[in-house]
Symmetry: C2
Subunit: 201 residues, 2 copies
């Protein structure tokens, strides 16, 4: 900020502009959206947007940043740094489900970006490094003997994230389902499996 | 067809135009693509496209139809109609993985459509009816006692399809991974679970 003196009135705050930009990007695609579209949706002028950000790219980066910052912070939580790899994996997956539900439009935006501008490539790269961090925990869980070793950890990570990422496709914030419900079902499926086993041997 | 007499030469066949249209829709989004874009990508004139189809909508419907026809045909295969619900579920999931790999761009297109034109709504509805057919098999598998009953069948179906649909996001046709590899890993994860169990009691 700081482009205008403190006395001048800010007509719209940055957070609200990012909210609108994320919505417009999801509706029209990032490529198909212009700053004009965002200004129109926010009912402000383009110059009001330029007061806060330099470009459409910056709006993508800030919108996506909301989700990335939350997701990456999970890896610093005590439950993601201490304990068995299997427990750390469960913690990171549960928190990912929570953040996906809390920041549904921002996470959806991250997942739909696949373009070739520097801002989009940067999102794709951040997403990839997040995948690698999870795959490392899967590998550690295999090494410690808590999960099966006859699976490819990279493929398994992709499949598990396919499951979690699909939340952005079907989750309805006004429905009864909570992030905890989703995480519980994901855990039943991927850790214990759907097949009924005999209760005791 | 049949708009021109048999003597007139067809400059480009319908299948090739659909191939190009699917690629353009994936690159630019369905909303962001025009018949001009498709003509340019196919290096033909717009009127050559109109010789084959009436509209962009028809190209979406025919492109998506390639994937839907293949997916819906699975439900008529003997392994999808006979046997236990659990075996039928495995068969349908395995065939879905195969068709997703075989018809990667067409399935990707189906999954990315979320617009509000009649052609897009029709894709969303066909996708939904496919989901219902799978959920019915999950319910039957719970009833026959072959899979656990402490899960919501609709949510479980969505999560499993999140896994399978993610193939369109990360699969590389030039890589070493086959549809069979993917299906095997999906089955290990969702039916048996990742957690290592003691070999014998």
């Amino acid at each position: 900020m700081g482009r205008l003196s403190a006395k001048q009135r800010k007509p719209y705050d940055l957070d609200s502009i990012i909210d609108v930009a994320v919505r417009v990007f999801l509706e029209r695609g990032y490529d198909g959206s212009s700053l004009e579209d965002i200004a129109r949706a926010a009912k402000i002028t383009k110059s009001s947007i330029y007061y806060h950000v330099a470009s459409k790219e910056e709006l993508l980066s800030r919108g996506g940043g909301r989700a990335f910052d939350a997701l990456l912070a999970v890896f610093d939580e005590p439950n993601a740094t201490d304990g068995s790899a299997c427990d750390r994996l469960r913690h990171v997956l549960r928190r990912t489900a929570e953040i996906t539900v809390e920041k549904l439009p921002e996470v959806a935006l991250l997942l739909r970006v696949r373009g070739n501008t520097p801002a989009e490539r940067s999102v794709v790269e951040r997403r990839r490094s997040f995948d690698h961090m999870i795959a490392d925990i899967v590998i550690a869980a295999i090494r410690e003997g808590s999960i099966r070793s006859d699976i490819d950890p990279r493929l398994t990570t992709r499949l598990i994230f396919g499951m979690l990422n699909s939340i952005t496709e079907w989750y309805r914030p006004d429905g009864a389902l909570t992030a905890a419900d989703i995480a519980d079902t994901v855990f039943k499926i991927i850790f214990d499996g759907l097949t009924l086993k005999p209760k005791s041997a």
